[in-house]
């Protein structure tokens, strides 16, 4: 009888972890490929409004961001609380826009340049004055493709 008795329950066989590094590496590569490093540190408060008719911006490399909002708490002593424009990492004025756009153009192949989009990330509480000024400047600089950044609105209008 004991000849056929299995040695069950005496020792659990160790689970092989040899493939663990491979699995982790696959995950790692996935995240390495998807990652886009945070490109600029925000110095203004931007919480974009909500909308329903939104489209995705497909080519990230062709988008230049313009942030408009009130300076964050720690910058308010220097820059005040009036809405400001931020380009790249710095506070900027409207007159800095043409140069900023030219610099963005340099990184992009010539045939793709007409497809460039300026994405306006504007805080919802900002008034239209500064936004209109920025729009006028963009028109003067020939940057006509514009995206008003917005989040998807879930519920219907009240």
């Amino acid at each position: 009888m004991s000849k056929f008795k299995k040695k069950r329950g005496k020792t659990t066989p160790a689970i092989s972890t040899a493939s663990l590094p491979d699995i982790i590496f696959i995950l790692l590569f996935f995240f390495m490929v998807v990652t886009v490093m945070k490109n600029s540190e925000l110095k203004v408060d931007v919480s974009v409004p909500e909308a329903t008719e939104i489209q995705k911006l497909v080519k990230k490399s062709l988008v230049s961001y313009l942030y408009i909002g009130r300076p964050m708490k720690n910058y308010q002593s220097v820059y005040g609380t009036a809405p400001r424009l931020q380009l790249n990492d710095k506070f900027a004025t409207i007159d800095d826009i043409p140069l900023f756009l030219e610099k963005e153009k340099l990184d992009i192949q010539e045939q793709l340049q007409p497809l460039m989009t300026a994405s306006l990330r504007v805080d919802r509480d900002v008034t239209m004055g500064i936004v209109s000024d920025v729009k006028t400047k963009l028109r003067k600089s020939g940057q006509l493709k514009v995206n008003y950044s917005a989040r998807k609105r879930a519920q219907a209008l009240k």
């Binding site: 590094p21 886009v36 490093m37 008719e53 900002v126 008034t127 004055g129 209109s132 009240k158």
Partner: protein, 180 residues
């Protein structure tokens, strides 16, 4: 001879830890969100004042947003939630009414805001106007091809948009309100 020793195996058990560390780093830095928003094509700038062209009043749908974020459409106050439907009705004019656009190609939406209008209100209005057009495009695409507008190929979309062109003309904002 004695040199022919076996190569000692490299211990790879820490590989998983290293990979984990890298993985966590990338997990933390990743932002997968893509930028989304309402796409607009601004009109090119010209220094000369725009030609004043005589438009029939019935073809112009004037939308104004004042500094208190109130809406005035063709001289009448309106709720934001009605704007979408009214826009679509104005452009397509299904009942051939005398006071709405003659045909979609002649319809012009004129949007005017104040420098004191909040951006949220402005974008909400713009969104509703665009939604009105999107509704019309979808209805037309469904009628002609049995598809949604988004699913049409580019040539069909162009044809459709030639029949119902998106014309939102924006006037210089007024500056009555206070800028905050």
């Amino acid at each position: 001879m004695g040199r022919e020793r076996q190569q000692p195996e490299i211990n790879a058990s820490s590989m998983a830890d290293i990979a984990f560390l890298l993985l966590i780093f990338f997990l933390v830095t990743t932002t997968i969100d893509v930028d989304k928003g309402i796409r607009v094509l601004l009109p090119p700038w010209s220094d000369e004042p725009p030609e004043t062209q005589k438009l029939k009043t019935r073809n112009v749908f004037s939308v104004m947003v004042n500094a208190n974020d109130e809406l005035l459409v063709r001289g009448e106050p309106m709720e934001l939630k009605d704007l979408r439907e009214k826009t679509a009705e104005f452009i397509s004019n299904p009942e051939k009414r005398e006071d709405l656009a003659e045909k979609p190609t002649k319809a012009i939406i004129s949007l005017k805001n104040d420098r004191g209008t909040s951006y949220e209100a402005y974008l909400a209005v713009y969104n509703e106007l665009k939604a009105g057009y999107n509704d019309l495009w979808n209805a037309e695409a469904d009628k002609r091809f049995g598809l949604k507008y988004e699913d049409l190929d580019i040539a069909d979309r162009k044809k459709l948009r030639a029949d119902i062109p998106l014309v939102i003309s924006e006037a210089e904002p007024t500056s009555f309100g206070e800028e905050k």
